[in-house]
Structures are given as C-alpha cells and as structure tokens.
C-alpha cells in the first residue's frame, strides 16, 4: 500500500504526483484527485493573502491515521496527501488528495472521505489578510456534517 503525506511550503505538481502514485502498479484503473486552492473572496471580503499554520508532528500523524482508516473502508491501492503551509496568495494550490483503485467508485469515495476528514481533524489553521485586517478563518459546522455522513461523529466546531 502506497500511503504518503507531505507538509511543505513549496508548490506541488499534480501531474507528477499522480504519475508517481500509480507508477509500476498495473492493478490501478482509477486515479481520483482533489486540489484545494485559495479563493480571492471569503465571508464577503477580498482576501489578499493567507497564512497557514500547523502543528508539526501531529499533522503528519493525524493524516496518516486518516489514510489508514481509508484503506480499511475502501478498496484502494494508494493515497497521497500534500498540504502547504506558510504564506499563500489567491489562486495558489493549498492541498492535494489523490487516491488510486481498480474502479472509480472506491477512489471517488476515498478521496472525498479523506478531504472531509482532513478539513475537520488535521491541525491546520488559516489566517487571511483582508482590507479590514488580518483574521483567523472560522471553522464551519457544515464540515462537521460532511464528516458525520461517514458515520464519524467527532466535533471540530
């Protein structure tokens, strides 16, 4: 099973990551990926930049635990998560979640499961700069609800 997580300031190349994830694995018939990017507007304000903080050590540990949970729930061959930290600008890539499986259903589901889990359980915090000043982004109740669909009732908000 190929599972790997990277927390990094640098940008990532999606094509390269997807190629690596399925390299030399002819069982793979489906590769599903999600890329999150920085929006220029949030909660009615223009966002000029965003700073991402995390909890080194716990971040990697929590995402690895999520990936292991995904392998128990879905018939997948590999998963790759990259999350950027530090200063980001609108349109920048923030996060990549990619999953491989034999058929599309499993990788679609595992990809969404991992994203729902990451949004509410991985220790990252966003601070955005707006014309009204810098502010910490509020967590959303809708993200807790998204995770609850998978039968996981852990509250974040």
């Amino acid at each position: 099973m190929r599972l790997s997580v990277s927390i990094q300031a640098e940008d990532f190349d999606v094509s390269y990551e997807l190629a690596q994830l399925r390299a030399n694995d002819a069982r793979v018939g489906a590769v599903c990926s999600f890329v999150g990017t920085v929006r220029e507007r949030n909660e009615g304000s223009d966002v000029s930049s965003m700073e991402l903080e995390h909890y080194p050590g716990m971040t990697e540990k929590s995402i690895t635990a999520m990936m292991e949970e995904a392998t128990k729930r879905f018939d997948i061959y590999g998963a790759r998560v990259i999350h950027r930290i530090g200063l980001l600008q609108p349109q920048d890539q923030i996060v990549l979640v990619a999953v491989t499986s034999a058929h599309r259903g499993m990788s679609f589901q595992a990809c969404e499961f991992l994203m729902d889990y990451l949004k509410t359980q991985a220790p990252f915090w966003k601070k955005e700069v707006t014309p009204e000043g810098a502010r910490w982004v509020d967590a959303r109740v809708s993200d807790d609800k998204a995770l609850a669909r998978w039968g996981i009732e852990i509250k974040n908000v």
Partner: protein, 83 residues
Amino acid sequence: MKVTVRYFASIREAIGHGSEVIEADVKTVEALRDLLLTRGAKYQEALSTERAVRMALNQSVCDGTALLQDNCEVAFFPPVTGG
C-alpha cells in the same frame, strides 16, 4: 510532573507564546487548563471555557478527562480550518 504545553493559532496569539514547559501537580488535561486559567488575563481570554478550545495529548486529539504523564505534551488550539 513536567508538562510541555503548546498553543496554536488564535490561542497562541492571545497567550503571546507558542510553547512552555510547566511543573504541574494535576492529573488531567482539564485540570491543567484550570490551572492555566489562574495565570492571568491572557490565559483567561485564550482558554476561557466559553470558547471552543480543542485539546491534544501527545499529539492525539483528546478530551478533558485524558490523564497526564510525566514529560507529556499537551496542546490547546481552536477548531481546525485546513484543507
């Protein structure tokens, strides 16, 4: 016992630093939070029971009943907003 306490995001900013090592004669994460609340206005603002404060023991999410061990690491942080 010796406990490393770490703070993140808005809680780190309110307290003014990200980490400290304290000697605490308490058993649980909740009792540690209560002890920190006696340390003045900055701590009261940051760790107020009115606020949504998440906790982790040795880098795993926990609740207030989690038991401390000597040289453990406890973290207090707001709800997470990654992704």
